[in-house]
Symmetry: C2
Subunit: 430 residues, 2 copies
Amino acid sequence: MVDIATRVWNHKWKIDPIVRSLIDTDFYKLLMCQSVFRNKPDTKVTFSLINRTKSVRLAEIVDEGELREQLDHIRSLSLSRGESTWMRGNTFYGKRQMFTPEFMDWFENLRLPPYHLEKRDGQYELTFEGSWPEVMLWEIPALAVLMELRSRAVLNSLRKFELQVLYARAMTKLWEKVERLRGVEGLRIADFGTRRRHSFLWQDWCVQAMTERLGDNFVGTSNCLIAKNRDLEAIGTNAHELPMVYAALAKTDDDLKQAPYEVLSDWHEEHDGNLRIILPDTYGTKGFLDRAPDWLAGWTGIRIDSGDPAEGAETAINWWRDRGEDPKDKLIIFSDGLDEDKILSLHKQFVGRVKVSFGWGTLLTNDFRDLTPDNSLAPFSLVCKAVAANGTPTVKLSDNPRKAMGPKDQIERYKRVFGVGKQEEMEVVV
Amino acid sequence: MVDIATRVWNHKWKIDPIVRSLIDTDFYKLLMCQSVFRNKPDTKVTFSLINRTKSVRLAEIVDEGELREQLDHIRSLSLSRGESTWMRGNTFYGKRQMFTPEFMDWFENLRLPPYHLEKRDGQYELTFEGSWPEVMLWEIPALAVLMELRSRAVLNSLRKFELQVLYARAMTKLWEKVERLRGVEGLRIADFGTRRRHSFLWQDWCVQAMTERLGDNFVGTSNCLIAKNRDLEAIGTNAHELPMVYAALAKTDDDLKQAPYEVLSDWHEEHDGNLRIILPDTYGTKGFLDRAPDWLAGWTGIRIDSGDPAEGAETAINWWRDRGEDPKDKLIIFSDGLDEDKILSLHKQFVGRVKVSFGWGTLLTNDFRDLTPDNSLAPFSLVCKAVAANGTPTVKLSDNPRKAMGPKDQIERYKRVFGVGKQEEMEVVV
C-alpha cells in the first residue's frame, strides 16, 4: 500500500522520475505508432505543447531545470525486457501479437528524439521534431511531466500534515464519485487519465479504486504500464493526430477531403472488432459522416470527443440507421470532459439504444479542484499536438471551435473543403 | 507522519500494545489519584466495566486471549523516567509542582493491581478490586483497550485498500468538522476522547488536526501522553467517582447529604483557579446547587456532563447570580455527547454571557459512524465505574436517569436524601 502523502513528502524529486517507462503512455499511442511505422514512417512532424489555460503561467510555476531533468530522463528510457514481453505476448482486445515483430524490434531500440524548450510569455514552448513514429511518442510523457511538475510545485509548499489531509480528501472525493457509479447496470468505464494526471502514483491509486469498487464495470486503463502492473486491459484505439497529419500531407483539396478516410482505410486493414472505432470530429462530425464510405458504417463504433456529447451520439445513431445498421450493435465511446454526473446522465440517455462506454480522463485522475485554498491544484487544459507534417501546418476543426488549431487561413480552407458551417462554442473544461 | 492505514495493516497486534504508558490516561485521573492518595488512601474499591450499548456483544467480537494480553501488558507498565520528569517538572494550569514529591514517589513505584475477567451474556465482566488510588487508574486504560480491540476486530476483516479508504474518509470527516469550528470567535475546545477512542494513533491524529487547524481555540488534551509528546496543555479536573465513593463511605443519611461537598472541600484545599470546577450532576444538579455552601459559588466554574446542556448552563448562571457572582467571570465546561453542531449552538447561546469551554470526547476521537457497510465501527457507550467502596455499593443518579447506576433500593434512598424528583430521560449518545 503506497502512502502517497508520505511519498510526496519524502521524495527528493531529483531522484524520482515522473515518467518511469516508455510504456507509461496511452495504449492508442502504441497502436497508432505501429500504424504510422508501417504506413508513413518517413513523415517528418513537429509536435508542440499548447497550454489552453493561459491563466496557469507554467513557466512561472515550474522550474526550467527540473523540467529539463525530467525530459532528459525520458530520453534515457528504453523498453525493458518485461515490457517488451508484455507487448509481444499479451492479448489485447482478444488478439495475440497485436504488435508485429518488425515494430517490436524497432521499438526495443528506440530512444525518444531531442526536444526544444524555451520560455515565452510565462509559458513553456516545448517542441519535438523528427520522424513521426518517434516524435509522436513524446506527447503523453511531455504532458504528464508538465502536469506533475505543476502539482509538485504546489505540493512543495505544503507541510506534512497538510499533505496527508489533502490526499485523504482527494481519496474521499474520488471514492464518493466511484460510489455513485457503482452498481449502475451495464456501465462500462475506462481510465483515460494519463496525460493530465495529478501524478503517476495518484493515477495508479485511482485505477485501484475503480478496480476495487466497480468490478466488471471498470473495463481497463489507457495506461500501458498500469495495465501491465495491475493486470488490466489496455484500452484505446486512435486519435486526431492521424487525420491531422494525413490531411497536412494532402497535396490538393480533393486529397484533403479524402485524408480522414485514408486514415481509416489504413486502420481497417490492420484492425478489426473493438479497435475499429471512428473518431469523426477532426473536421466536423456531420460532414465526415455524410461523406463517409459505406464500409465505415460497418465499423464497431464512434468516439465522441468534442461538441455536445448527447447531440453527437444522436447524430451517430441516425447515421447508422440511415446506413442500414442497427445502432444496438454499435458502440459509442464518450471521452470529452467527463465527470460522474455527465457519465450517469449520458449512460441513462443511451443505455439500451446503443452500446455505451466511457473514457474518463482528467476529472478521474486529477480532480483536486477546491482542495487547496487558492485552487492551485485544479487541472488545466494542456495539450501536445502535431502542429506540422513535412513542413505543412496541421489543422484541427473539432466540433467545438474553441478546440480548433492551425493557421487562420488554413482553418478557413479546411472549413470550406469539409463544408463546416457555423459551430457552437462550448467551454473547454479540461 | 504516521500512515495509520499502513500501520493497522502491518501491525502484528500481539506486539503492538494499545496502552503504551501509565500516563496514556486522562489528566484528571492523576489529579484525583493524588487527592485520593492524600485523603482516602486506605479505601477499598471495586471498579467494573459496564457496556451500556447491549447490542454490541463485546465478548463475541473481542477475543479473550487478546484482551488478557493487553490487560497483562498494562500491568507490566511503570512510569518511565521521561514521564516522571514531565509530571514533576511541567507547569499544569500555570502551576509548578502540581504533583507532590510524596505522590510521585508512590506513582513511580506503582504497578496496576490484578483484574478479574469473565464472560457473561455476550459481554465481558471485567472488575478491579483493591486500594482506591491504585484501582482507579485502571478505568481509562481498560476502556481504551476494549474500544480499540473492538476496532481492531472489525479492521481485521478489511483489505489494505479498504483500510486506506476508511482512514481517508475518517480524516476527511474529522477535517470537515474541525473546519466548521475554525475561526469561531472565542471558542475553546479540548480533546476529552481518550476513553472511547478508535485507537491511540487515531486520537493522536485527531489532536494534530485540532492543533493544526484551530490554533489557540484548541486548548489542549486530557491525554497526558499526547500532551507530553505534542507539547500541549493537559486538561481536566475531577469526575463522578469522587462523590460516588465519598457518598458510599457515608455512614448516615446526613453524612450522605454532605458527601459531595466534602469532596469539594478536600479539592478546595488542594487546588485553585481553573482546577476549581464543580461537577454538580452526580446526585442531581438542582438540589446540589440549592444546598451548596457559599464558598462553592466562588469556584471558577461548572462542568455539565448530563441532562440538557443548555438547561444545565442556565441553571448554573442563575445559581451564580443568586449567590451574587457575575456569570461573566465564570466558566462552564460542556463535556456530554458533543459533536460540532452541539458545540456551535451551545457556544452561540452562551458566548458573552459566561466563559465557555468544550471537552470533546467520543465523536472527536471515534466518529467512524457510517464508514463501514454495517456501521460496525460506530462508537458505543462503554464505561468503567466505581461500583463499591469498602463493601458498600455506589450510586450515581445523574441528570439523566438512563445514566443512573447502583442497586435499586439505594437509588431510591439517594433520590430521597438528595431530593431528586422526576427526571427527564434522554438518549445516551456515547
